[in-house]
Amino acid sequence: MRRTLLTLLLALPVAASGQVSPKSSQSLPREIRREVVTRWNASNTSGVRAADKLELEAGRDVNGDVSVLHGPLIIGGHVSGNVLAVNADVTLRATAHIDGDVLIVGGQLDRSASAHVDGSIRIYRQPLALREDGDKIAALDDDIPDEDSWWRRLEQRTRSDSRSEFLRIVQAGPYNRAEGLPIELGPLVQRPTPWGSVRFNTAAMLRTATSFSSERSDVGQRLRGEVRFGHDHGIGVGAGAYNIVDGVETWQLSDLETALAAFISRRDYRDYFARHGASGYVTAFGDHDLNVSGSFAVERWSSRVARNPFSILNGEHAWRENPSMDEGLFHIATIRASLDTRTDPVDPWSGWFASADVEHGAGTQTSIAPTSFPRLNPLGPVTYTRAFVDLRRYNRLSPTEQLNMRLVAGGWVGGDPLPLERRLSVDGPAALPGFDFRSGRAGPDVGTCNDPPVLPSRPAECDRILLTQIEYRGDLPLDLFSSWEDWPFRFRGAHGAATWVLFADAGRGWKVGTPSDGITYSRGALPPLSTFRADLGLGLDLSIIGVYAAKSVSTPAEPINYFVRLRHRF
C-alpha cells in the first residue's frame, strides 16, 4: 500500500510537467504591449472592430483593419489592412487573404495552407493583462521594466556577425609533417555596416613542430582585411599579407581527413611549400549558387622540410620526406568561379557542384627542385597558365538511393612547364583508393608521373590529370547505435543508421611534351583509355565515418586497400 502511494506521488510531478501553458506571470514585451494598446484604441475610427467572436465569411471584403478583443476571429474573406487579435484565437480559412500584417497576442493561429498573408505574422502566446475603459483598453503591467526581446537580441547578434576579439585562437590549417599544428593567434574585428560589412584580422602563426625561432621562419604571419558592399549579395574587396605554409594539392582529401591521418597514423597525404607575399582580390557573392572571384598575388615560394611532429601510431617510422619545391618570386593572377545547387553541401541528394579556376603565373625561378624526369623549366623568367575543373552531379533515384558522379580535370594550358607547386597527381584514397598512396611500382607511374628511379619524396609531377568517379548509395535498414549517446553518429537517417556505397574510379595523369614512355603525350592528345587506372570498391557509410575497401581492376596485382573517409567521398 505504501509502495503504491509512493509510486503515485512520484508520478504526479511527471504528469504535471506535461502541461504546456506559459507561466501566466510572464508579460509581453513592452513594445508589443504598447503597440497593441495603441492600435486597439485607434481602431474604433476605421476598419472593423469587435469585442467578441467575429467571422468574416468567404467573399466578404473589408476595406481597412480588423481588430478583435477576446475573439475568436475567423477570416474567410479579404482584408485590405492589418489584423489585430487581442487575447483571441484566429482562424484563416482557405479563402482568406490579408494584405497587411497579422498580430495575435494571447492566442493561436490556425491557418489553412491556402490562406494568403502578404505581410508579416507575429504571434505571442502570452495574454495581455488589460483593463477595459469603455471602448478603450490599457495594459495593466506597463510599469514592468522593459524586457528587450531576448530572441531579437540573439538574432541580431547571430545574424550581424558583429564581433571584436582581442585574442582569437584558431587552428590555421590541418596538422601536417611540415608544421605540426599551425595555430593562428591574434585579434579579429568584424563589423556590419548599413551598406555591408568590414572585417580585419592579424595573426601570428605558431607551428607546434618547430623551435619558434624566427630565424628559421618558424613563426608565420597573416594579415587580412575585407570590405563587403551588400549583405545578402554584392561585391567584396580584400587584401592581405602572409607568410604561411600551404598544401600543393588540396583538392583531394579534406583538411580534417588530412590532419587526422597525419596525427593518428603518421601518413601525410599532402606535400607542402612556403608562401610569403601579399594579395588582393575582388569577389562577387550572393545567392550561394554562384560565386566569382578574381585575385592577384605577389609571392615568394620556397621549400619546407618535414619536421618530426608527434603522431599516435607509427612513431618509430620516419615521416615521408616533404619534396623540395621550385623557388622564386611569382606574380599570380587567378579567376575562380563556383556553382553549387546541391540540396545540402554536407549530405547532398540532388544538384550540381562545379568549381573552376584559371591561374596565370609569371615570375623568376631561382631554384629548380629535383624530379624523376629531367626538368625543362628554365631558371630565370617563367610564365605558365593552369586550369582546373571539379564537376559533380548528385542524383536521387528514390527516397533511399542515389547515384553521384564526379569529373576532375586540370593542368597545364600554356606557357612554360608548371612549377612543381602547381603539378598534379591522381593517387591515394580520395582519387584512386585501389592504389596505395605513393607506393613503389615498376615502370612509369601514371598516378604521379614519376619515372624510375623515383625520388624518396615522390612529388606529384603530372602536367595534366583526368579523373572520373561514380558511386551508388543506398540506405541500410539497420539501427545500430540508438543507445550510444556519445557515438560520433549524430546524423540519424530515416530508415537506418548506415548507407552502403558501391563505387568505381578511373583516372590518370600525364606530362605534356614529346610522346614517350607512356607518360608524356603531345599537348592536344588524350592518353588512351586503356592506360587509365581503374578501381572498384564498396563501403559502409555511418553518416560521419565511412569504411571502405577498394580493389584495382586495371592492375590485378594490386592488393585490396581498406580505408576510412569522413562523410561523403565527394
Binding site: 510537467s17 506535461g18 504546456v20 506559459p22 507561466k23 510572464q26 493561429l109 489553412s112 495552407a113 491556402s114 498573408v117 508579416s120 505574422i121 507575429r122 504571434i123 505571442y124 502566446r125 502570452q126 531576448w150 530572441w151 540573439l154 547578434r157 547571430t158 564581433r163 585562437i169 584558431v170 587552428q171 596538422y175 599544428l181 583538411d255 580534417l256 587526422l260 596525427f263 540540396t343 545540402d344 541528394w349 540532388s350 544538384g351 542524383n395 536521387r396 533515384l397 528514390s398 527516397p399 533511399t400 540508438s482 543507445s483 550510444w484 549517446e485 556519445d486 557515438w487 560520433p488 549524430r490 546524423f491 540519424r492 537517417g493 530515416a494 530508415h495 560521419i544 565515418i545 569522413l566
Partner: protein, 207 residues
C-alpha cells in the same frame, strides 16, 4: 550467475531506456496532401544530456533548424519540388527561471512564452506544426525532413571555454580530448554541438 543475468538485463534494457529519450521525427500526411501541408511532430529534441547541460548550466541558447523538402518521383531521378525552412530558438532566463521558446517561419514569428522546465519547453516544440509545403501538380511525392539542433556560442573564446570544460565547439578541432574513449573523441572532433536528424515520409500520390 545473478551478476551475469543482471548485466544482460541492463544490456537489453539500455536501448529501450534510450528509446524513451531518443529524438523522434514524424511527418503526418493528411487525407488531401495537395490541399494541406504535412503535420510535423518532433519530440525529445532537447532530451540530449549535453544539450540540456549547455542550455541550463551554460545558458547557451539552442537553435533548431528545420528543413522540409518535397521530392517528386521521376522516371529516372527524383526532383526537389520545394523546400521550407524554419527555426525554433530555446533560451533559458535564469532571472525568471523560464525556458523561452520562439519559432520563425518565413514571415511568421511566434513567441510561445516561458516554460518552467526543459521538458515543458520540449513538449511545446513537440506540438504538431502544419507546414505550408504541398505539391501543385499530379504525381508521386514524398517529404524529407532534416532537423539540426545546435548550441549557439558567441565568440571563439566562449567556445574555447566550452572546449576546456568538455563541451566542444561546432568547428573541427582534430586534436581534442585525447585520453577519452574513442566515441567521445570522435564526437568532439566530428560533431561538436550540432546534432542532425532526418526522416522521410511515405510515398503519396496526387491525382
Amino acid at each position: 550467475m545473478r551478476f551475469v543475468l543482471a548485466f544482460l538485463l541492463v544490456l537489453l534494457t539500455a536501448p529501450l531506456a534510450a528509446q524513451e529519450t531518443r529524438p523522434r521525427l514524424d511527418i503526418m500526411l493528411g487525407a488531401t496532401p495537395a490541399q494541406d501541408g504535412p503535420l510535423i511532430v518532433t519530440t525529445n529534441l532537447l532530451a540530449d544530456p549535453h544539450t540540456r547541460d549547455l542550455l541550463v548550466n551554460g545558458a547557451f541558447p539552442e537553435r533548431m533548424h528545420f528543413r522540409l523538402e518535397l521530392w517528386r518521383k521521376g522516371s529516372v531521378f527524383d526532383d526537389l519540388d520545394g523546400r521550407t525552412e524554419w527555426d525554433m530558438l530555446v533560451s533559458y532566463d535564469p532571472t525568471q527561471k523560464l525556458f523561452n521558446v520562439v519559432r520563425r517561419l518565413e514571415n511568421q514569428f511566434e513567441d510561445f512564452g516561458g516554460f518552467p522546465t526543459v521538458t515543458a519547453a520540449d513538449l511545446q516544440i513537440a506540438r504538431p506544426f502544419r507546414v505550408p509545403l504541398r505539391p501543385d501538380q499530379s504525381g508521386h511525392y514524398y517529404y524529407n525532413l532534416i532537423v539540426e539542433v545546435r548550441t549557439l556560442t558567441e565568440t571563439d573564446l566562449a567556445a574555447l571555454q566550452q572546449f576546456l570544460r568538455g563541451t566542444p565547439q561546432a568547428t573541427s578541432q582534430p586534436l581534442s580530448w585525447l585520453g577519452k574513449n574513442l566515441g567521445r573523441l570522435m564526437s568532439r572532433v566530428l560533431g561538436g554541438n550540432t546534432r542532425q536528424y532526418a526522416q522521410q515520409s511515405d510515398l503519396f500520390g496526387v491525382p
